[in-house]
């Protein structure tokens, strides 16, 4: 069943059409939730909530925007609401977090590392670093670099300007770089200490 047909039938309450829509989009929504919260149980819960909200509102979908954009805007909002609930922040949905250096923004350290990250970024390290990003940075990074959305689509999903999306993405990457370097330094320190301990034991 093509998506357009599934949409039409779902708007009439057809169970098979709902299931078809779920099958078409569940991987993308679940992956988005998983990348955003880094926890499978919570990602399942958020996926469930996003699709429930979608199906409750599906009769109002008029096709002004692409269906997938509509669904992803909804899913991102569900995730952001949850993250906001967790952190107790009172920011509005439209507001994209602009953290300063003390609250998680990138450091402007021009004398920073000259040893590159290339080769040291594996999935686990990157996901851990993403988990540490503020919600706004995280959303834009996951949508753009992981899920492949363009800035105009992200602007629509997040309710911000294209320039804001670009700026947030850059800050997110810079912050990720700091976090990945910190992890590399910690790992090197641990290795040195382990080496020293081994030497002392010998």
């Amino acid at each position: 069943m093509p998506e357009a047909e599934a949409l039409r039938l779902a708007q009439q309450g057809d169970a098979a059409a709902f299931e078809r829509i779920y099958q078409l989009h569940n991987r993308r929504v679940y992956s988005l939730c998983l990348r955003m919260v880094g926890n499978t149980a919570e990602a399942e819960d958020l996926t469930q909530e996003a699709f429930l909200q979608l199906f409750r509102k599906i009769a109002t979908f008029r096709g002004e925007s692409a269906f997938s954009t509509w669904l992803h805007r909804l899913a991102v909002n569900v995730v952001l609401m949850r993250l906001r609930k967790k952190t107790g922040s009172e920011t509005s949905l439209e507001e994209v977090t602009e953290p300063d250096e003390e609250t998680g923004g990138p450091r402007k350290d021009f004398g920073g590392p000259d040893l590159g990250l290339s080769g040291s970024i594996d999935r686990v390290n990157l996901q851990r670093a993403i988990d540490q990003l503020p919600a706004g940075y995280k959303s834009v990074f996951v949508l753009h670099d992981v899920q492949g959305y363009e800035h105009n689509e992200i602007a629509e999903i997040m309710g911000c300007s294209i320039g804001n999306s670009k700026s947030q993405l850059h800050k997110a990457r810079m912050r990720l770089r700091d976090l990945l370097h910190e992890r590399e330094r910690a790992r090197a320190r641990e290795e040195r200490e382990a080496f020293k301990r081994d030497e002392a034991e010998e």
Partner: protein
């Protein structure tokens, strides 16, 4: 052409990553190791992010089950009538994912559940079907528990987070099974409740197999 210093280059790095190449920035990047490294790092992060998308995962079947149950509760969808043949086809597809030691038990489960697929048995044996299915699921679980007892301590230390999540999910499915069994007892001829119960059993077998797999590693 004005020379660019590191501070200016960092300000320009956002446009650089967006594909813009200011001659001063190109010149600076070719001469400054730190700024060249910055760009290489940002490109590596961008590529690593894209690689995460390659590993898109599918949510477990229980997510759809819960969504559908809620939609029906809210009367947002019309109940779907499907044949047993379709449901058993799904069960067949599920088989390869099962851990070897439990496969025979699960197949026994499918035979028991298949009892009611036979139209000759349908009306007179509704209650018996439920008893049969419950007994088979109990034996599947007993088989799992026996196998599990041998290495449970190792799992608790090595993989406690995963085990805790699986146990939590198992509790959710068990709760769903209890509710479905109650509904089937109250209305044995309601195909929808039996469909839910069947899917819940399937979920439980799926979870037990996942636990068996995770403990076998």
């Amino acid at each position: 052409m004005s020379a660019m210093n590191c501070e200016k280059f960092w300000e320009f790095s956002e446009q650089w990553m967006d594909g813009e190449r200011h001659p001063g920035a190109v010149s600076h990047a070719s001469a400054c190791v730190r700024c060249k490294t910055l760009i290489e790092d940002l490109e590596s992060i961008h590529k690593a992010g894209a690689a995460l998308a390659m590993t898109e995962e599918e949510p477990p079947a229980r997510v759809w089950l819960a969504i559908r149950a809620q939609l029906e509760k809210e009367r947002l969808i019309r109940p779907r009538r499907t044949g047993w043949r379709e449901r058993f086809a799904a069960f067949e597809a599920f088989r390869p994912a099962l851990a070897g030691a439990y496969l025979s038990l699960i197949i026994a489960g499918s035979v028991a559940l298949g009892w009611q697929a036979n139209p000759n048995h349908r009306l007179q044996d509704q209650a018996e079907w439920l008893n049969h299915a419950q007994a088979t699921m109990a034996s599947v679980e007993a088989g799992f528990t026996t196998g599990r007892a041998t290495n449970v301590s190792a799992i608790q230390t090595e993989n406690s987070d995963v085990t805790a999540t699986l146990n939590k999910n198992l509790a959710i499915v068990d709760n769903m099974i209890s509710m479905c069994e109650k509904s089937v007892r109250e209305d044995p001829q309601n195909e929808m409740t039996r469909d839910y119960l069947y899917t819940a059993y399937q979920q439980k077998a799926d979870l037990l197999a996942t636990m068996a797999d995770s403990e076998g590693r």
